[in-house]
Amino acid sequence: MSASLLPSQFADLEPFATTWCLATEPERWARRLETSLDDMQAFYDACFPRAEDAIRHCDGFDLHDMPGDVERLLQLLCSFALVSYPIEVWRQTLPVDTGSARLDRVREP
């Protein structure tokens, strides 16, 4: 059995970890663009009911000194926040009427 990426209490989210535990928004955005709406829906459906517990779990640690598995759980939550837009709002990968526009995140905490 391969080593788990997430805290053991969140083993149910483990199938999404390799895809969505990404450290930066540019990586998460690129993943969103290459993922089907069905696959994002599956991730969203699995993550949403667990998100509050996951946030509480992360809050048990120093934001700036998290163990690797907790840090990855927070990364997964950041991916969830990004995926919520195609699922809840747009029903498509990009915002409606994006046209050819791009907006690159060049700095983040």
């Binding site: 949403f48 837009y85 009427d97 050819s100 690159d104 995140r105």
Partner: protein, 421 residues
């Protein structure tokens, strides 16, 4: 029918009679010739915000800012005494671009004790003084003390670093900003140090994109998705609570129900889960200092101040104690670089980090809609199918902006003609 009190004249626009109420030409946004005039009259005359003091966190730090419209790159340093200085980023010797990292066409930042030109090795201190000339005795009667970098006027206001490329700026920065913007001087910008930055290269004139951010008339039709599906109404109206002009600068303030007080059925599930969204994190940080300068119209249920600081800086201050700054840098008559920074108090735990992350995600989602329409606006205007356009009272800032641009270009050219006479 209006929801908010308007000036005695009955409309905001007529309160400022110089603006007129007639249709407006956007020839200034499609003409290559007019862009050339703006470069000299505006970008080499006005105070330009190139960064924040956060970009120079300690002595010895520096960054470069390419100002294509002004035909230069500026090197901004915090010298070893802590003074913020700016110079043309050009070597005194043969005019090579002095400081760059991977390529001269990209901006750079770092920390240094001195700068060395890659071409012939001349060196300069953080104060701009020339400290080393390679094979100095081969030159003819040169004096290093006279071979420093070309200084650029630089002043810091409320932590915002401005430069002015005029030989002699007509006003000091604080005077230029005027009383309305200047009132923000003590706003706690310095408490908001957690930053998310975005950059885009857009296919429109710089003013066309600024126009998209200085009226809210477009919000219900273009951003219908800001409410859940059963509450979307592209025919909804939007009325801002307050407009104010001060010299070349402008503000619009909004009022209304705050997102965190909306009924649940209007909200998306993730907004409720993460307690954040297009108005920022719902749980505002406590800041035990006055929010100086905000809400100049003293509107009830104040939501946002949208300060448009001439020529190309926008500061959006939110009631939930965070702010956005936008800068628009023309690169040709129909292209520009757009920079957006979101500034929050530092997150103290994962929940706060995630609320900020979701706000940053949200800003990008809706800004992509704004940017997406730009190509269409620029293409439409360039068709010259129409040469003048009706603007309503909610678009007063658009009207004022284009008039200000025309006034600056006209005034600059008149004064240049006088000098040449």
């Amino acid at each position: 029918m209006t929801s908010f009190p308007r000036p005695a004249e009955g409309t905001w626009t007529e309160h400022y009679p110089d603006l007129g109420t007639g249709p407006v030409s956007f020839e200034d946004s499609i003409s290559p010739e007019f862009y050339e005039r703006e470069r000299d009259a505006i970008f080499r005359q006005a105070w330009l915000n190139v960064g924040r003091i956060d970009d120079l966190p300690r002595n010895g730090t520096w960054f470069t800012k390419d100002i294509v419209a002004a035909r230069t790159s500026v090197l901004v340093t915090r010298d070893l005494e802590g003074e913020v200085r700016a110079f043309h980023n050009v070597c005194r010797h043969r005019g090579n671009k002095l400081v760059w990292a991977t390529t001269p066409t990209q901006e750079a930042c770092g920390v240094a004790r001195q700068f060395a030109c890659k071409y012939h090795g001349w060196r300069y201190g953080l104060d701009g003084g020339c400290t080393y000339v390679h094979q100095e005795d081969e030159f003819f009667g040169i004096d290093k003390s006279e071979l420093g970098l070309a200084p650029v006027h630089c002043e810091v206001w409320a932590g915002f670093i401005f430069v002015n490329l005029a030989a002699t700026p007509r006003q000091r920065l604080r005077e230029y900003l005027g009383p309305m913007v200047g009132a923000l001087e003590e706003y706690p910008f310095d408490a908001m140090t957690e930053r998310y930055s975005f950059r885009a290269e857009n296919n429109s004139n710089w003013k066309v994109f600024i126009d998209a951010f200085q009226e809210y008339y477009h919000v219900p039709p273009l951003h219908t998705h800001q409410l859940g599906p059963s509450f979307r109404n592209p025919e909804a109206t939007f009325e801002a609570a307050h407009y104010q002009l001060d010299g070349p600068h402008r503000v619009v303030s909004t009022s209304g129900s705050h997102k965190h007080l909306f009924p649940e059925e209007h909200l998306y599930p993730s907004e409720m889960l993460l307690r954040s969204g297009n108005m920022g994190p719902w749980d505002a940080p406590v800041i035990d200092r006055p929010l100086a300068g905000v809400n100049p119209g003293e509107v009830k249920r104040w939501g946002i101040d949208n300060f448009q600081i001439f020529p190309n800086l926008e500061i959006l201050i939110y009631e939930r104690n965070w702010y956005l700054s936008y800068r628009f840098w023309p690169t040709s008559h129909n292209t520009h670089v757009f920079e957006a920074d979101l500034w929050f108090t530092p997150a103290t735990n994962a929940r706060e980090r995630l609320a900020r992350e979701y706000a940053a995600v949200t800003v990008k989602e809706y800004a992509l809609q704004d940017a997406g329409t730009l190509d269409g606006t620029q293409l439409g205007l360039e068709s010259r199918a129409f040469t003048s356009h009706p603007l309503n009272d909610q678009e007063i800032l658009v009207r004022h902006f284009h008039k200000t641009v025309a006034d600056w270009v006209g005034a600059h050219e008149r004064s240049a003609a006088e000098v040449g006479r």
